[in-house]
């Protein structure tokens, strides 16, 4: 039976199953994310995080289960759902030969944003990420942290309700990582944006963050970081994570 979806729920993932040929990647995965929430999707490499993101963003077709965003079923109205999602991929999808503004402009046209509105939004979003002076620079000339900021600005151009970040801090130095994490948390707080932050870096998660912990495609825990620690009897999330992902360990959230 599908889980009950509360009115405040922004994203509901219900009994998701996915296989690469004969290899299962996601097994009976269910969780919910609320508006304005910074929700961490934690799992080691190969846990199924990128597969989940590919399913939510409809790059992959659903095999079993249901994804509902803002009360809209992804399978029934994919265009409506995609219009409500902003995505930052694990590998950069910026065109290095184009300028910052040209990259954003391209995305805006794909979202059907008219040219007058486009100019305003590009300026607004680049100002928000502190890159308004670098609109004409080629992306190739930016450092990793700034490129990620451009990708976040791009993902927010069409005013999505949900922002998906797939290991967005990979390859960044610790200062840039902290900076990016803080910026995204600010978006949740100030704009009511729901954020699903996939990571395998435990230090990016705060004690009161809701955490969905997956391992080998299975849900191991689904509550706040502090609750997971309490349930496992660990002092730190890193210890709880190691306990839960150890062979044969499994805790229902």
């Amino acid at each position: 039976m599908p889980a009950t979806v509360s009115p405040a729920t922004l994203l509901a993932v219900e009994q998701l199953e996915f296989r690469y040929g004969n290899t299962p990647a996601l097994r009976d995965l269910s969780f919910q994310l609320q508006s304005g929430q910074f929700h961490a999707l934690l799992g080691p490499n190969g846990a199924g995080k990128s597969t989940l993101f590919a399913l939510i963003s409809r790059l992959f077709a659903l095999q079993q289960g249901r994804i509902v965003l803002d009360g809209i079923d992804l399978e029934r109205a994919p265009a409506k759902v995609l219009g409500r999602i902003g995505m930052v991929f694990q590998q950069s999808t910026l065109d290095l030969d184009l300028s910052v503004a040209e990259n954003l402009n391209y995305h805006a046209t794909l979202q059907g944003i008219g040219w007058r509105e486009r100019k305003v939004r590009i300026n607004d979003e680049l100002t928000r990420v502190g890159l308004e002076q670098r609109t004409k620079e080629r992306v190739r000339t930016l450092n990793g942290g700034h490129r990620r900021r451009v990708e976040i600005a791009r993902a927010l151009l069409h005013r999505p309700r949900l922002l998906l970040l797939d290991e967005a801090t990979v390859g960044l130095d610790s200062h840039a990582r902290t900076d990016l994490n803080r910026h995204v948390r600010g978006l949740c707080r100030d704009q009511g944006l729901g954020v699903l932050w996939a990571t395998h870096l435990i230090e990016e998660i705060q004690p009161d963050d809701p955490v969905t912990l997956i391992h080998r495609g299975r849900l191991l825990a689904n509550s706040t970081s502090a609750e997971i620690c309490a349930r496992v009897g660990a002092e730190r999330l890193v210890d709880a994570f190691e306990t839960l992902t150890a062979p044969r360990a499994e805790v229902n959230g």
Partner: protein, 266 residues
């Protein structure tokens, strides 16, 4: 999504292709060098060995350079289409195609826009080649240049569709070059690009049959006839039919999941 959104997306995709084209000047020059080498070196050598009798659409004896120019225009389109397909395969797995595919617009429409944009970007390359070919005595009537534009676009679209369809089944990017050797060269050599079909028939009936079955032959003939202001009903029918078939097949076969799943299973 309203009609304006569809138009915005098409303009955006086309503009991006143009920008990339402008930024990658070496791509433009390398696309020109290949047919020019054929025109300046290969044609010069063959001119003495190969006589061309009066054949349609020409109304007099022509030099070999004049004969192979339409085939070389098609060659520019062929290489551009295959290169574009290569980048779409690459992007499908790790790059900007993901941004394209996350648009709320239908995926089939977005892919069609991408194919049309790639074909349009190839047109300046063809016209630049024709401009240089003028100095080699390739002088079609001015109206021919204008009439050829939609035909060149149609041919570019047909070849782009074929390239994308083939690339959808490629296991790894490295294999793409190999596959192209089995596609580009047979397509080009088994056509009327370098020799008239009657020459092929003299060489062997099987060779002639293969050339007739090759859609590239009909694309070359369509460009040749249009460039000299003449109508070729059979060629336009075959090229249009093949364009619809290849583009539809490419859209159906395009699956961003495929490359990812292969990578996981390998």
């Amino acid at each position: 999504m309203n009609m304006s959104a569809y138009l915005q997306a098409f303009v955006g995709i086309l503009f991006r292709e143009l920008l990339r084209f402008v930024h990658q000047r070496t791509r433009f020059f390398s696309a020109l060098v290949r047919p020019l080498v054929w025109l300046a070196v290969f044609a010069a050598g063959f001119r003495a060995a190969l006589g061309i009798s009066i054949i349609q659409p020409y109304d007099t004896y022509i030099t070999y350079e004049v004969y192979i120019a339409p085939g070389l225009c098609a060659m520019v389109l062929l290489f551009n289409a295959m290169q574009s397909s290569l980048s779409m395969v690459y992007d499908r797995e790790m790059g900007s195609m993901r941004v394209l595919l996350m648009s709320p617009l239908p995926r089939s429409y977005l892919l069609l826009c991408k194919l049309i944009a790639s074909a349009l970007v190839a047109l300046p390359q063809v016209y630049a080649f024709l401009a240089i070919a003028w100095f080699f005595g390739v002088e079609p009537p001015p109206s021919g240049y204008l009439l050829a534009a939609p035909v060149l676009l149609l041919t570019g679209l047909m070849l782009g569709g074929l390239g994308l369809f083939i690339s959808s089944f490629i296991r790894q990017l490295e294999n793409f070059a190999g596959v192209m050797n089995f596609v580009i060269f047979p397509m080009f050599f088994l056509s009327s690009a370098l020799y008239p079909l009657w020459k092929m028939q003299e060489a062997g009936e099987w060779l002639y049959t293969l050339c007739r079955l090759n859609p590239f032959t009909h694309a070359v003939e369509l460009i040749r006839f249009t460039l000299y202001g003449q109508w070729h009903g059979e060629a336009i029918g075959i090229v249009t039919g093949c364009t619809l078939l290849f583009v539809s097949a490419a859209i159906v076969a395009f699956n961003p999941q495929r490359g990812f799943m292969r990578a996981r299973n390998s």
